[in-house]
């Protein structure tokens, strides 16, 4: 689970700076530039007035001569964007909590109770992760309609766990495995019930795993698109990705400023969340990979 900070071996420190620059820093810099450029472009467009955005002759497109908040203002006050933001938060938070609850129970049962057939159930749940939403959305649309959930947050809150539970369960199983079984045995001898053991011993010890599963679930549901596009029809019920794509484009007129502002402000919450927990994420991956 621990991330080893320095893996460089042997006599790397003898390497001269220019050589290391050519071998490591330059290619790394180029790749990072490639990965970051779209965000830079998003930000530049967001704060650039229309006059500059469509005039590459007079203004350098990479810079902003007269920064403006006009696009963000338009997005927040002239569109349903605040509602989309609210829906996205509600849906992501609810489906994350449902999935975490179901996954903690399932992972604990599979990994710790080891009931008859738990291996196969665990494998079946993992296989569920390999079923892509683009195969499920058509029958799910029929089901959502039959249950009367069409065009409401509940349709998304109940369907998102189908791709969150398999992932979270798999991640948590790996975490529970790292907790010494002896701790639970001691508690059992002392007369604790299974539920007490789960809540007072296993869960606190696997908190980093639960947190990374939660962050993962949250960002996956924030990112979800095809279900939200299919199950939601009125503007006030949409999530950010769907709202941006379907409501900010009027016929052939693209409001690039507002679109980029939506892309930027819709990305910021998940980016902030991730930047706090990126080490958890990498160590969770390492823990999962070690198996």
């Amino acid at each position: 689970m621990t991330t080893v900070d320095d893996q460089s071996v042997g006599m790397d420190y003898l390497e001269s700076f220019p050589k290391k620059f050519l071998r490591v820093y330059l290619p790394l810099g180029l790749i990072i530039f490639f990965l970051l450029f779209p965000f830079y472009w998003m930000a530049v467009t967001t704060f650039k007035p229309d006059a500059e955005m469509y005039d590459y002759e007079k203004y350098n497109p990479f810079l902003i001569a007269h920064p403006t908040l006009e696009h963000i203002k338009k997005l927040f006050f002239d569109t349903d964007y605040p509602l989309w933001m609210w829906n996205t938060v509600i849906v992501s938070v609810s489906s994350t909590f449902i999935s975490l609850f179901a996954s903690v129970c399932a992972a604990y049962a599979i990994e710790r109770l080891r009931y008859t057939g738990s291996r196969y159930v665990g494998l079946a749940i993992f296989l569920g992760y390999l079923v892509p939403p683009s195969i499920l959305f058509i029958p799910l649309a029929a089901i959502v309609f039959q249950l009367g959930l069409f065009d409401g947050n509940l349709a998304l809150i109940l369907t998102y766990p189908t791709f969150l539970i398999p992932f979270c369960t798999w991640l948590l199983m790996g975490y529970f495995r790292t907790i010494p079984y002896e701790l639970e045995e001691c508690a059992l001898i002392d007369g604790a019930t299974r539920l007490q053991i789960l809540v007072k011993i296993t869960l606190p010890l696997s908190l980093p795993g639960v947190i990374s599963a939660g962050i993962f679930a949250f960002t996956l549901s924030w990112n979800e698109f095809i279900y939200a596009l299919t199950f939601i029809s009125s503007s006030e019920n949409k999530t950010i990705p769907v709202g941006a794509i379907t409501e900010l484009v009027n016929g052939d007129v693209y409001h690039w400023g507002a679109l980029m502002a939506a892309a930027l402000t819709g990305s910021v919450p998940v980016v902030i969340l991730y930047s706090f927990f990126v080490e958890y994420y990498v160590s969770a991956m390492t823990g999962a990979v070690k198996e």
Binding site: V24, A109, G128, I138
Partner: protein
């Protein structure tokens, strides 16, 4: 004595039944599984089965369908747009996956070096993976704009071009454009996961190889690659699955255009089922993806078995 003895034994009996049930791992296990299994059966297993069924009906939105057997598949087999979408899907998956793997592995090796601000660099690298795909795809849509593309502008200023490139208006340009956007999005996942894999390789192996006078290339070829291969198989299975069933990028950037040149099977099935109202036909198109997905999973599964067997491990 006798008066109170009766209820006490009854209580004891009842509590022992309960406590015995709660001590039984099988009963307790089943109870703990209920929330996950209920959701997965209702919204995953049942729809999967329903999807198979829908693909063999002529269901329209808002109507009840009839069973028509394989008629949907027969008509699809004569549908040139469907075959074009199959071609596009394979093209998209093959090129994007190969490049994602190459850049991802290279980036993982670079990130595994001794670097200043290591964790910050990692956080930055993850960004394209973290940001909602549709929102970053909007940025690519703007980057590929026919009149205001920043790529065209730079190339013209550099004197390499005279005209703006019509990125999304020309079939082949559009195909390569969406492949590039997919690579951009997928590289961080491959890189970070492979980096996690690299960190599990024991440094002592490299030290031993150093003492034996192995070159960098030899160390990579004989230590890194074999030790990494199980993770490579897992990552690439996921990457291929996600690319093959991709919907968001295409729907946002091209909606399948120009003239269906970038339609993937997923976007075509959405168009036929939801926009066009032919649920049955759309379901048949998504069902047609399943054999490819199963093949990808089996391939990596048997690949893993084989490498394990070659290394002398048990199954």
């Amino acid at each position: 004595m006798a008066v109170i003895a009766e209820p006490v034994t009854a209580q004891l009996k009842r509590s022992s039944l309960w406590s015995r049930a709660f001590e039984s791992r099988n009963f307790l296990g089943a109870m703990f599984m209920v929330p996950a299994i209920a959701i997965l059966i209702l919204f995953l297993a049942y729809p999967l089965a329903l999807g198979f069924w829908l693909g063999m009906t002529d269901t329209k939105i808002g109507g009840v369908g009839r069973y028509i057997g394989f008629a949907n598949f027969v008509s699809l087999s004569k549908d040139s747009v469907f075959w074009l979408s199959v071609f596009n899907t394979i093209f998209y998956t093959v090129f994007a996956s190969i490049v994602k793997f190459a850049i991802g592995l290279y980036l993982a090796l670079l990130l595994n070096e001794r670097l200043p601000f290591k964790s910050m660099v990692r956080a930055i690298v993850l960004l394209p993976f973290v940001v909602p795909t549709v929102l970053s795809a909007i940025a690519f849509w703007w980057i590929y704009d026919s009149q205001f593309s920043i790529i065209s502008w730079v190339l013209i200023k550099a004197g390499l071009l005279t005209n703006y490139i019509d990125f999304l208006g020309d079939p082949w340009n559009a195909r390569w454009s969406v492949v590039l956007a997919n690579i951009w999005r997928g590289v961080p996942f491959v890189a970070i996961t492979l980096l996690a894999g690299l960190q599990t390789i024991s440094p002592s192996l490299y030290e031993a190889a150093n003492l034996d006078g192995a070159t960098n290339m030899q160390r990579f070829r004989h230590i890194t690659l074999p030790m990494l291969s199980p993770i490579i198989a897992v990552v690439m299975t996921f990457s291929v699955l996600m690319t093959f069933t991709d919907f968001q990028l295409i729907y946002t950037i091209t909606r399948g255009g120009p003239i269906n040149a970038t339609h993937l099977m997923a976007t075509l099935s959405f168009q036929r089922a939801i926009t066009g109202g032919n649920l049955g036909e759309g379901a048949a198109i998504s069902n047609a993806m399943i054999p490819f997905l199963v093949a990808a999973i089996l391939l990596s599964f048997f690949g893993l078995q084989r490498s394990r067997w070659q290394q002398g491990g048990r199954d």
